[in-house]
């Protein structure tokens, strides 16, 4: 299959052409999906440079595995799974190489006035506040809640990607949601400060 104008082709045609070995079709798939892929990578690893590495690795794996894509799920969903895998590998590698730098796992309570939920009536402010809270989660909790609640992957897929049991994935999801809720929508008497016991559990 040869595409004369990859830029105007639909996703299915691009995927078929890329599977047939047409490089320009895969390039167009990269152009169309890179923002979403980068956003997911950024949410999972938080650091921009790390996210770039994850994205590059994800597209390389996708390119090499195009033949195995059967079209059971959407191409973007398949790409999210690969990206989640790459991010998980990346974080694991980084954890092994880290010595004293534990910054990303130390949540410092910072009840900023601009994070007052009363001010968060504007959707964009709420989203911004939520992105900050997600970034402050420990990586193990963050991956689960991002993949489940934003990208709608099921528990089995998440457990498989992260190399944990399904019940462990559910426990992490509950902890992540609780921390996000307390951070973003604290009830009367709740402080968005980190609960030291939960922190110990999560790390």
């Amino acid at each position: 299959m040869h595409l004369l104008a990859p830029a105007s082709a639909d996703m299915a045609a691009l995927v078929s052409a890329a599977q047939a070995g047409e490089h320009s079709a895969f390039e167009e798939l990269v152009r169309r999906t890179s923002t979403d892929t980068f956003t997911l990578a950024r949410r999972l690893v938080t650091d921009e440079d790390d996210a770039r590495d994850v994205v590059q690795e994800a597209y390389l794996r996708a390119y090499r595995s195009m033949g195995s894509f059967r079209g059971d799920a959407q191409f973007t969903t398949w790409l999210y799974r690969i990206t989640a895998n790459c991010a998980s590998t990346h974080l694991g590698r980084r954890r092994r190489h880290r010595h004293e730098n534990l910054d990303d796992e130390i949540d410092v309570a910072d009840p900023k006035p601009e994070h007052d939920p009363a001010l968060a009536t504007d959707g964009s402010l709420l989203r911004e506040q939520l992105e900050v809270a997600i970034a402050e989660l420990p990586p193990r909790l963050r991956a689960v809640v991002v993949l489940r609640d934003i990208y709608d992957l099921n528990h089995a897929e998440i457990a498989n990607h992260l190399g944990i049991s399904e019940s462990a994935a559910k426990v992490r999801l509950h902890r992540a949601r609780r921390r996000l809720r307390v951070q973003v929508f604290p009830l009367a008497g709740e402080s968005p400060c980190l609960d030291p016991e939960e922190h110990a559990d999560a790390v």
């Binding site: 990269v30 994205v55 590059q56 390389l60 989203r127 934003i150 559910k170 809720r181 009830l187």
Partner: protein, 136 residues
């Protein structure tokens, strides 16, 4: 701390609040289920109802992030394509080297076979030459 927070709640619902609190994050999407007594508690406990409502709000907010994007670095696509190309070149070089290695090994094997066959012919020929005068 979660348990302390729960202890702060009004006396009559303490125990049930505690048992329900851990389940509420999963109730919103069916990840966890409330049994009949937990459900009855939530129906009567304003605090737990409020907490459940905030989890629902949280889930909606999380789902809304699906359409919001991080600003992509301007060179990202170029970098990805360059990375693919470099990896393609590396694998082409590897394939070429592997191909050459196969050719070398094949050549050595063929030469060894030919040398062995030659040596065998020479030995056989010498043997026959040696036997001929005796036969005559």
């Amino acid at each position: 701390m979660l348990s302390e927070r729960i202890r702060d709640r009004s006396g009559a619902t303490n125990a049930s609040c505690e048992s329900v609190a851990d389940l509420l994050p999963g109730v919103i999407d069916g990840t966890s289920k409330l049994d009949r007594s937990d459900r009855r508690h939530v129906e009567r406990c304003l605090r737990c109802q409020a907490e459940l409502a905030t989890y629902r709000k949280l889930l909606r907010a999380m789902q809304s992030l699906r359409t919001s994007h991080a600003s992509r670095p301007t060179t990202l696509v170029t970098d990805v394509l360059a990375h693919l190309e470099a990896a393609g070149e590396r694998s082409a070089v590897r394939a070429a080297l592997t191909g050459r290695k196969v050719a070398y090994l094949g050549g050595i094997a063929a030469a060894a076979t030919a040398a062995g066959a030659g040596a065998a012919i020479v030995l056989v020929t010498r043997g026959r030459k040696g036997r001929l005068p005796l036969a005559g």
